[in-house]
């Protein structure tokens, strides 16, 4: 069993929806739901949710191979600036490597992150596709 059950399960909301940690002390927002601000360390934080739409600001076409990557390479890994202003790293799918460029508008959709084949858990989470509806 390669995929732990609780490691993913306890964070599933942050993988199923874009959670932003808004710091009430320093004011900066950060991607992923956390107990404390990654900028200033304050525990006084509020978790809010992003709509999941934004602009692709940087990307790379990756052939880097880990176990289980065979059906999924090449991957497009990029940085997305959400409409709310926060940067999210993520995978971009449903687009050809030759077509992807900076500036395209993307939206977060649920996909398989990875599956512990043949008998283990499937991890689901958000990746980004060129937005289907403006």
């Amino acid at each position: 069993m390669k995929h732990s059950i609780p490691i993913f399960w306890r964070n599933r909301e942050s993988h199923y929806r874009i959670k932003i940690t808004k710091c009430n002390a320093c004011g900066k927002p950060a991607y992923f739901g956390r107990d404390r601000c990654p900028y200033c360390g304050s525990r006084n934080v509020t978790i809010i949710e992003s709509e999941g739409k934004g602009i692709l600001v940087n990307f790379t076409i990756s052939y880097y191979r880990r176990e289980g990557d065979e059906e999924h390479l090449p991957r497009i890994i990029g940085l997305i600036r959400l409409d709310e202003g926060i940067m999210v790293p993520g995978e971009i799918v449903d687009i050809d490597p030759s077509e992807v460029k900076e500036g395209i508008r993307v939206e977060a959709v649920l996909r398989r992150y990875s599956s512990d084949d043949p008998y283990g858990l499937i991890y689901y989470g958000l990746k980004f596709i060129p937005i289907l509806k403006k």
């Binding site: 599933r12 909301e13 199923y16 929806r17 289980g68 065979e70 059906e71 999924h72 799918v93 449903d94 050809d96 959709v109 649920l110 996909r111 398989r112 992150y113 084949d117 043949p118 499937i122 689901y124 990746k127 289907l132 509806k133």
Partner: protein, 359 residues
């Protein structure tokens, strides 16, 4: 033919608040499949199948169902916390045991206090889910229900079904008729034990009776359920503006519609299979979604899903004014059909995990 006669119409209190669709981007031409496996090329015309949608390697019934459901909820304009039931009809569950519905529900922030299950009845479980969610609303058990039909359809490589077996999802939020974009006028279901198509527990691919899947299965059950509905509601084919049928290929819905007395013009708007393939649990439901994308308020729609094993639902729906307010809020079926990239058979085999590998 005697079936269970619904004496009152509880479903008349219920309607569709939102509909959603999802079709993956990849397309495989039927002619390539036919050519690879030695089918004479005119078979694609005989079946009226041009190309089929193929889910990517990181997609499955859960991810597709999620997208369709999200669109349905957006159109419905409701808080997902008010959804009291989530049903996923699928015959391609990522887990044989572990519901897809709970993953989709948590991913969409649906209330934990709910009924939820995955259901199997070949291609009509999504429709069964629609009926059950409707009954739950009608009985006052829940306020809103979410019914999803989603499949990455399997077919034995080299079998004629491979020309059409495809991936897609459709979802419906049901609730009080007063809030609906299309209200239910009547629903009936006709089910018998008819083994036309099945998949054994450990089998990757289904088997089917070829010709047997026609008259004794598809045609008999759809025609029976539709006639049953029309008799109970006192309606005739002329009373309907659209007739949407389960569509394993492009020809069957035209044939069964003709047998029932529906003209081609009423059937064509709900046909999607020639361009995306047979999406199993999403088949008729995507046809319905396509009709809802353009139907006018006041129009009457017949939708008759069918599932092997076998059974058919017949549902009469009347579109309300509210459909105009929400139609543009999510991608339309035609937009999803138009979003496509052609792939090779090899890429299809990789995407759908049908190449034997050590994982």
């Amino acid at each position: 033919m005697k079936g269970f006669k619904v004496l009152s119409r509880p479903e008349a209190k219920v309607g569709i608040l939102g509909w959603g669709a999802y079709i993956p981007r990849q397309r495989l031409k039927a002619s390539e499949i036919a050519g690879l496996w030695g089918f004479e090329h005119s078979i694609t015309k005989a079946l009226w199948i041009e190309e089929k949608a193929v889910a990517a390697a990181d997609e499955d019934a859960v991810t597709m169902g999620w997208y369709a459901a999200r669109s349905a909820i957006v159109r419905a304009g409701i808080n997902p916390q008010d959804i009291g039931a989530v049903f996923v009809g699928t015959e391609s569950k990522p887990y044989a045991v572990k519901p897809s519905a709970t993953i989709i529900a948590d991913a969409l922030n649906v209330s934990y206090k709910k009924l939820s299950t995955d259901m199997e009845f070949a291609c009509r479980a999504g429709s069964e889910g629609l009926r059950i969610a409707t009954a739950l609303v009608a009985s006052g058990t829940i306020k809103y229900g979410l019914a999803i039909g989603s499949d990455t359809a399997q077919a034995n490589p080299g079998d004629v079904l491979e020309l059409t077996a495809a991936s897609g999802a459709a979802a419906y939020v049901v609730g009080p008729a007063e809030e609906s974009v299309a209200r239910f006028e009547g629903m009936v279901t006709y089910i018998t034990d008819t083994p036309d198509f099945w998949r054994r527990d450990c089998s990757h691919y289904p088997l089917h009776g070829e010709g047997f899947t026609g008259d004794p299965a598809y045609f008999h059950h759809i025609m029976t359920s539709v006639k049953m509905l029309m008799e109970e509601l006192g309606l005739k084919p002329e009373d309907f503006d659209y007739a949407v049928f389960h569509q394993p290929n492009g020809k069957f819905p035209l044939r069964v519609g003709k047998k029932l007395g529906f003209p081609k013009e009423k059937i064509l708007p709900g046909i999607v299979t020639p361009w995306i393939g047979n999406t199993y649990n999403a088949s008729a439901l995507l046809g319905l979604a396509k009709v809802l994308d353009s139907a006018k308020p006041g129009q009457r729609i017949l939708v008759a899903p069918f599932g092997s094993g076998a059974g058919s639902d017949a549902i009469s729906i009347i579109v309300t004014d509210r459909v105009l307010e929400v139609r543009e809020k999510a991608p339309k079926v035609e937009e999803l059909i138009a979003r496509k990239k052609y792939i090779s058979y090899a890429q299809y085999a990789r995407s759908r995990h049908i190449i034997r590998r050590i994982v």
